[in-house]
Subunit: 237 residues, 2 copies
């Protein structure tokens, strides 16, 4: 039976900060821990979103492709979907939506996922272009991100919420990726004006935090000089 | 087959800080995730150490008893032992030992466990007395700890190392509990002068972080006013 109470995470946001961007997990392995998720490829190669077991990549040209099992990732989340309906929203702003989800779900101190399907207006996403070794830092890579926008688009948003205590391990608060229903648009969600659709949530009792401990660069890195929380905040929000 | 690459953790050090001390996991459940571990009971009821599947409690009187499956805990770690020999030490100081383990194991960015069996000199441990609801904060409870010492004692030390990024979630660096071979002494390790014996380590690729999300006090607590890292450092080191 599939475990729907565990959120799997490979890597940390912190390891992206100094540019530990080697792909240390395959998509095939990530999919052994869930059918739904988000992530990024080796060298920050685009923005990934997994829906119903299908892993889609939005690359720096804004194109959406399904990736193969041997695609590798430095950071990703996955879980087995078992979302429960939370509410229907009609033209909700992003700030109102976040506030309503937190007020209704009462899960501020838990990990949970949110899935929103519907019509989004004035939506902006970004995707980072793949860098090659020696890898750039997260701050440098984020400067070369491409931003995409749509006036109106139907699609699915997958987000993960992490409690404040886990800032730097994950993105504290919400970390959201988006995919258009027709696969013509997607990426890491920057913002939107309004959404009309269905909001569902899935709480987790366990975070399975997997670390790339066989990777020499990760093992040997001294994180004490990195501004983990500051750089994550600037790059991911 | 038992998973020897995962460290299970119930709760966080952070939740002890404001006194969220309800026992939210039974020992029976903790033992489903390992045969080796450390923890504390409801209300900070003593110091727990699990060896070969047997959970021992050192209470505030310094007595050692095996606890039953329905004993509950607000915070604990467990894993299935698969230690690999690292080194033999002869009269090593605690500081030298920590430094040698880190230099040899090269696991600064991983979770790992250390097991040391041997003869310890001038060793000091502590145990906290159980508090009842409304629970004290960690800082208040730590003031009422009892300290125990022995000039020389044979026994086993079980420690867990957490990377700096996880400070407040776990104890960053080492968190060690001790049990004398004859069960006459033990507790949370404060310090020792020297140890002669065998040192073994077990690295983990995954931290399974379980949170008490069904507990109303945990769900509703606002952690933003707590000095998590400061209070954990003062209480646990």
């Amino acid at each position: 039976m599939k475990d729907t109470t565990t959120l799997y995470q490979h890597g940390t946001l912190a390891l992206l900060v100094p540019g530990l961007l080697a792909g240390t997990l395959t998509m095939a392995e990530l999919l052994r821990h869930g059918d739904t998720g988000i992530g990024t490829g080796e060298g920050l190669d685009g923005e990934l979103i997994i829906l119903d077991g299908h892993p889609y990549q939005v690359n720096a040209q804004g194109e959406v492709h399904e990736v193969a099992g041997d695609f590798t990732l430095p950071f990703a989340n996955s879980h087995y979907a078992d979302y429960q309906p939370l509410m229907t929203v009609l033209g909700a702003s992003q700030a109102d939506l976040n506030q309503q989800i937190r007020a209704l779900a009462q899960l501020d101190n838990a990990f949970f996922s949110v899935k929103i399907t519907g019509l989004f207006t004035a939506i902006r996403t970004r995707a980072v272009a793949k860098s090659e070794p020696p890898y750039q830092t997260l701050a440098q890579a984020a400067q070369q991100q491409q931003i995409f926008s749509r006036g109106e688009v139907e699609g699915t948003l997958i987000g993960y919420y992490a409690p404040q205590l886990y800032d730097g391990i994950a993105v504290a608060g919400f970390h959201k990726h988006f995919l258009a229903a027709d696969h013509s648009f997607g990426g890491h969600l920057l913002d939107f004006e309004s959404v009309t659709g269905e909001v569902a949530v899935q709480p987790f009792s366990t975070l399975a935090q997997h670390l790339p401990i066989a990777d020499a660069a990760y093992r040997q890195h001294d994180f004490s000089g990195d501004d983990i929380v500051g750089d994550v905040r600037r790059a991911e929000h």
